[in-house]
């Protein structure tokens, strides 16, 4: 419903008379800044509660890259779960060693944690794996996202386990989830569709409190609440299939609002039923590092050997400021 106050063009919030800042393309509803914020925070709180993501006694490690999604996630976890603030919430930043990009994002991650008053651990590829991502992929930058994804996950898990985390919260949003779903379909890897991210042997369970939120709403939330968003984008992001899938999904979302949510919903249903019909693989361990693995070597060790860095047993986690 559109009311027409002073400036005839001003569109008002559906819930009050203040000027709207956002339109939900699915319902056609308009929201002012405070109703947008309230709705956004309620939706994240609902995702957390409905999926029992955070329970009393949990120790949550939030993966803080310093980018927009993880920054908003850290702010919201501190806001929605003040009970965690004392010693139940820590941020972990993985410094992959990407020149011209990581300096800014690591810096803004440090500042944010100070502002929120939460602990902060910085762990780096250089310290743990003996080389930066830049050095690892010098000859084949196209593989950067694959290599980085596996190594970052491993390092995050190690650091979270060392801190005593019972949950690892990541900033994956609706757009990420729909892109991943589509990419797994495009690559024809049915095994990857049924692959469970959590479960016995998968390490500290992961939670994704922003999984139902769009990047657009996350960005607007950050802008409206003066949450600093670094401008730098990862220089390797452009080289990936994900970048093309993102463009495609962006177009579909514009033409047919709600597409991303439907892709994720349908994909989850398929993954769930595939999992039910799957014979579980015998439990194996990587012969190099001893971590649970589907083959002789785990993904992390396979990649480290490929890039010429032998697997090393984890060195102690460096604290922020000691980097």
């Amino acid at each position: 419903m559109m009311k027409t106050p002073a400036d005839q063009r001003t569109i008002c919030c559906d819930s009050c008379s203040l000027p709207a800042v956002s339109l939900d393309p699915l319902s056609g509803a308009h929201f002012c800044a405070s109703h947008f914020n309230a709705r956004f925070e309620d939706a994240v709180a609902r995702t957390i509660t409905e999926s029992r993501m955070i329970l009393p006694g949990d120790r949550v490690a939030v993966a803080l890259s310093g980018g927009k999604d993880s920054t908003v996630l850290a702010v919201l976890l501190a806001k929605l779960h003040p009970d965690l603030r004392d010693s139940g919430l820590v941020a972990i930043t993985v410094d992959e060693g990407i020149a011209g990009y990581r300096e800014e994002t690591v810096g803004s991650a440090c500042k944010l944690c100070e502002r929120l008053g939460i602990g902060h651990l910085v762990v780096s590829f250089g310290d743990r794996f003996g080389a930066t991502l830049d050095a690892m992929v010098r000859e084949s930058p196209k593989r950067a996202c694959t290599i980085c994804g596996v190594l970052r996950r491993t390092l995050l898990q190690q650091a979270a386990a060392e801190w005593g985390a019972t949950k690892v919260a990541t900033g994956h949003c609706l757009d990420d989830e729909s892109e991943t779903a589509l990419m797994n379909c495009l690559s024809g890897a049915a095994g990857r569709i049924s692959h469970a991210e959590s479960g016995p042997g998968a390490g500290v369970p992961r939670i994704k409190p922003l999984r139902a939120m769009s990047e657009k709403d996350i960005t607007l939330y950050a802008l409206l609440n003066d949450i600093p968003i670094p401008r730098a984008e990862c220089p390797y992001a452009r080289t990936s299939l994900r970048a093309e899938v993102r463009g495609m999904m962006g177009y579909l979302e514009y033409r047919y609002p709600g597409t991303a949510a439907k892709v994720v919903e349908g994909y989850s249903g398929i993954a769930e039923s595939l999992r039910r019909h799957r014979t579980p693989l015998p439990a194996r361990r990587c012969t190099l590092c001893g971590q649970p693995s589907s083959g002789e070597h785990c993904q992390c060790c396979t990649i480290l050997r490929m890039v010429g860095q032998g697997p090393e047993p984890g060195a102690p986690t460096k604290r922020s400021g000691q980097v």
């Binding site: 063009r9 569109i11 000027p19 709207a20 800042v21 956002s22 339109l23 393309p25 308009h30 800044a33 993966a63 890259s65 310093g66 980018g67 927009k68 999604d69 993880s70 990541t170 900033g171 757009d175 990047e215 657009k216 960005t219 607007l220 802008l223 409206l224 968003i229 670094p230 401008r231 984008e233 990862c234 992001a237 993102r246 962006g250 177009y251 979302e253 514009y254 609002p257």
Partner: protein, 67 residues
């Protein structure tokens, strides 16, 4: 001539000769996917179905990707 001033995500600006029109049309004419940006009209964030006219300044914020 008075033109609509559009500030693009990279900070550069374009002057467009438009009559009153929906922001969506302005974005499409610039080859920008309206679902991929947030817009501010004269310094205030506005929903994508708002109108702009030649005396306005329209700032376009790209939705940044990644973690």
């Amino acid at each position: 001539m008075i033109c609509l001033k559009v500030i693009l995500p990279d900070g550069s600006s374009r002057d467009l000769d438009v009559q009153e029109s929906p922001i969506e049309n302005v974005l499409l004419s610039l080859g920008i996917n309206p679902a991929g940006v947030i817009v501010a009209r004269n310094g205030l964030f506005v929903p994508g179905d708002s109108l702009v006219r030649e005396t306005d300044v329209l700032r376009i914020y790209l939705i940044s990707h990644g973690g």
